[in-house]
């Protein structure tokens, strides 16, 4: 029973490792596969789906969502959640676009900088309350969701920013493209790559995973939990703020309801992208792919006309169920596969 000497043979060991590797990669691969399938089916039904204009539209829409998803993924990986991103994006969209009316001729980069700063301020505030005062992020960010939206409503009132006050160069940003790929998509891809690299190859990035994986163990390992969680919220705020300015350029007309409900779409994208809702695993790349998948579905429904677009939400919900069920299944399977192997000392 104790069988002290029964060491797993080397081949067995290697095969188990391959299994784990395969399963973990399969998660990202799964989203890509679903995406590919969707593209295939949509194109067969309506070739127009793969038109340059439509692809460009999907990519630029997805970029906005993916940008917010970067920060949200980092927060969720630490076993927190940021529900304020929709409101932050909304108020940033209004305030940054409003700059054109207040200061005609203002440089476009300054407008984006304004959006970023608005996001940073909100992120610092949220992060401080969550990390330093140790209030659960679900409650804090829910409060921020309403508080910021409330401020937005008061500032904007019944008014709105009109497209006519915004320079054409600003409104053209979403459609500007290099070789058919929107500039925005390129920029966001670079940001995703930077975030992924940070999460993979820097101690502070790894700490985010450790905190989400087991907060108590993270404390015993001497990880500065408050500092890391704070940073994650600041980044999330910054992403949402920057996305606000992008939102303004995309939708042009901005009132106090801009980006209403965005937060749940983002959380959905992140979870579909393979980030565990209780933290510890997943990746920024997966989250960005999740955002892309949701936009592609939206567009496919639009273009093919097979189902009315009112089905979008239902399909999103269904995909989330599939994603979380799959994750749970994978996790259980990996555990049992690994448990069969026992380390034995000596040989």
């Amino acid at each position: 029973m104790s069988g002290a000497a029964d060491m797993a043979p080397a081949s067995d060991l290697a095969s188990r490792r391959r299994l784990v590797d395969f399963v973990l990669r399969a998660r990202t691969f799964g989203i890509v596969a679903v995406l590919a399938l969707l593209v295939l089916v949509a194109t067969l039904i309506q070739a127009r789906f793969l038109d340059k204009a439509n692809v460009s539209f999907i990519l630029s829409q997805a970029s906005l969502y993916a940008l917010v998803a970067i920060g949200e993924a980092m927060v969720i990986i630490t076993r927190n959640v940021d529900l304020s991103v929709g409101s932050v994006c909304g108020i940033s969209a209004y305030l940054s676009a409003h700059l054109f009316a207040q200061h005609p001729g203002i440089a476009i980069p300054l407008v984006f900088l304004a959006g970023l700063v608005i996001g940073l301020i909100s992120g610092v505030l949220t992060g401080a309350i969550v990390a330093i005062c140790r209030v659960p992020s679900l409650v804090v960010t829910l409060a921020m969701l309403y508080a910021i939206r409330g401020i937005d409503t008061v500032i904007v009132g019944p008014g709105q920013v009109l497209a006519s006050t915004e320079p054409t160069a600003f409104l053209n940003i979403p459609t500007a493209a290099v070789l058919g790929v929107p500039d925005v998509a390129i920029v966001v891809t670079v940001l995703v790559a930077i975030a992924a690299y940070y999460m993979h190859s820097f101690r502070s990035g790894r700490d985010l995973y450790a905190i989400g994986s087991d907060p108590q163990a993270a404390r015993l390992a001497g990880i500065p939990i408050a500092k890391r969680v704070f940073t994650a919220f600041v980044i999330s705020g910054a992403c949402a703020g920057l996305a606000g300015a992008l939102w303004a350029s995309e939708y042009a007309t901005i009132d106090s309801t801009a980006a209403n409900g965005l937060e749940l779409q983002i959380v959905a994208a992140v979870v579909i992208g393979g980030v565990a809702i209780f933290g510890g695993s997943g990746s920024v790349v997966g989250a960005a792919l999740g955002a892309l998948l949701l936009q592609a579905i939206n567009s496919a429904l639009n273009v093919t006309g097979v189902l009315p677009t009112t089905w979008t939400e239902g399909i999103t919900g269904f995909l989330m169920l599939v994603a979380i069920t799959m994750d749970r299944g994978i996790q259980l399977r990996v555990s049992t596969a690994l448990r069969r192997r026992r380390v034995r000392l000596g040989a």
């Binding site: 104790s2 797993a8 820097f202 101690r203 790894r206 015993l220 990880i223 596969a337 034995r344 000392l345």
Partner: protein, 531 residues
């Protein structure tokens, strides 16, 4: 051997060459704790304890459960800050504000319960926060893998550094923790019951590691309930009892008997229980087994009888109790209540058969902390207090005040949250909740953990009265005085088996400790020690 080149050794790394350096013939201690006191609420976990850890020496820390060993370890590890007392590491006074500080000061702790990150790879678990970097701040994943692999090789074990930690067995997790401590090149390594989950072979390996740590000049603290292990690896021993230091000296010249006496030697709690006749058979457990947890568990409990399950933490006592009540599954065997088999894995079936279970962790499992005192008391009897599914608040209050009186519960108002009560009174609420169902069998796991002495006596009185009234009582307790005071019969468990049954008349602390730690006889262990 001055291996100070590793990063992260901050503070006191210098100034304490590990090898004898000798300005004063005897080398000063690497770590020195002076007059440390720590209280949690009214409970004094540690009182005025001083400890010197010297390089190149293995220092055993022994004591009964609750003697304060873990608190001491957590103070050295920066998890708890002492209320009073000073800590000196490498000749400097230090204040450890957190575990990170302790690590930076060269202290590595291997906790009793491994603290790994299930989602991270094994290699990352070893190096978290200190991953090898290249080119400034980027993590060198390759170097991390190969260094982890080298560590496991030096330990003579095969753990794949690439795999995630989720699914590792307890022994494997323990090995990862040991690798973590080794990677720190720590000057002080504390091992809190590292052998509890290891097989004999693995223990032998571990001792090799301990010896090599010692030869490299580290100060090792070794905590174990197995005294033969203490004699096999340590040079010095400190015995704690009730949070106080009773003995700290070189191990040479001491016998296992001396240590047991030092651990135990207090006035035994007054025996409250007068023997009386056993009633009919209530609980019969037959050949209960669950792979890797317990096996071949057979015993019976009669009406009017208090039977205690004694043994060390991790011996499988709570697991057996949980299986009997149906919270945990079991692989084979049977549980009979009043000669009727009860369905496995179903607390509802056990409750219907008249079994009540007061769990070990009352905050997590015994009480609904957000509810009021009255609601908690009434929780298990709601079917009797409701009309057409509506719970009658007034009936609930009346019911609770009745039980509060019977158990001498000390409370402000019954509608206050249960958190407003002291630990002892919270335990009474849990007892009341189950007593009100008039069970035929009451299983109580660690009924007085963290409870002050006065309330403890009251809880004992309640249990004894319960037995007198004809209820069969099964008590699990790590406190030997409690076991001796309460039980008519004591079943001693070790490593998942019942290894001894001791009748009340023959019971003594020595006898139970001897059975629980698996020493055939005390003199035999002394021989092992001198070898």
């Amino acid at each position: 051997m001055r291996e100070v080149k590793e990063q992260g050794s901050g503070g006191g790394a210098h100034g304490t060459p590990a090898q004898p350096d000798t300005s004063h013939g005897d080398q000063g201690p690497i770590l020195s704790l002076r007059n440390a006191t720590k209280a949690f609420g009214a409970v004094h976990a540690l009182e005025d304890v001083s400890l010197d850890l010297r390089g190149g020496e293995v220092h055993a820390l022994v004591g009964e459960n609750g003697a304060g060993k873990s608190t001491l370890v957590k103070i050295i590890g920066g998890v708890h800050q002492p209320d009073r007392g000073t800590l000196t590491i490498g000749g400097r006074d230090v204040v450890l504000a957190g575990p990170g500080d302790a690590r930076d000061a060269g202290v590595a702790i291997i906790y009793q319960e491994p603290t790994l990150f299930p989602d991270l790879s094994v290699a990352e678990n070893v190096f978290i926060g200190r991953q090898p970097v290249h080119g400034g701040r980027r993590i060198d994943h390759g170097a991390m893998q190969s260094r982890a692999r080298a560590l496991f090789e030096s330990l003579g074990v095969h753990v794949d550094p690439d795999r995630v930690a989720r699914g590792l067995s307890i022994a494997e997790q323990q090995i990862v923790e040991i690798a973590k401590a080794l990677s720190l090149d720590a000057k002080v390594v504390v091992m809190d019951e590292p052998t509890a989950a290891l097989s004999a072979h693995e223990v032998a390996r571990l001792f090799g590691v301990v010896d090599s740590l010692r030869e490299h000049g580290a100060a090792v603290v070794f905590i174990s309930h197995r005294l033969e292990e203490v004699f096999a690896v340590s040079q010095r021993v400190t015995v704690l009892r009730d949070g106080r230091l009773v003995l700290s000296q070189e191990l040479k010249g001491l016998t296992a008997g001396d240590l047991v006496r030092a651990m135990v030697g207090r006035d035994l709690a007054e025996r409250q229980h007068q023997h009386h006749d056993r009633g009919e058979l209530v609980l019969r457990v037959e050949q209960l087994a669950r792979a890797g947890t317990f096996e071949d568990i057979s015993f019976a409990v009669h009406a009017g009888e208090i039977v205690a399950l004694a043994g060390l933490v991790g011996a499988g006592r709570s697991e057996v109790a949980r299986a009997v009540f149906g919270i945990d599954p079991f692989d084979s065997g049977a549980v009979h209540v009043a000669e009727r088999p009860i369905r496995r894995n179903s607390p509802a079936a056990a409750m219907a058969a008249g079994v009540a279970f007061v769990p070990e962790d009352r905050r997590q499992q015994g009480l609904v902390m957000d509810m009021s005192i009255a609601q908690n008391v009434a929780l298990a009897s709601l079917h009797r207090l409701s009309h057409f599914g509506l719970i009658m608040g007034s009936a609930e209050l009346r019911f609770a005040s009745e039980w509060g009186e019977r158990l001498q519960l000390k409370y402000g108002r019954l509608s206050n949250p249960v958190t407003s009560l002291s630990g002892g009174n919270q335990q009474k609420v849990v007892l009341a909740k189950w007593l009100s169902r008039t069970p035929s069998l009451m299983i109580v796991d660690e009924p007085t953990r963290g409870i002050d002495v006065a309330t403890k006596a009251e809880v004992h009185r309640i249990l004894v009265e319960l037995a007198h009234s004809g209820v069969a009582v099964l008590v699990i307790s790590s406190e030997l005085p409690e076991v001796l005071a309460l039980a008519d019969r004591i079943l001693v468990m070790r490593e998942g088996r019942i290894v001894a049954e001791v009748a009340r008349e023959d019971a003594s602390e020595e006898k139970i400790i001897t059975a629980a730690t698996g020493q055939a006889e005390v003199p035999a262990a002394v021989e092992a020690g001198s070898a």
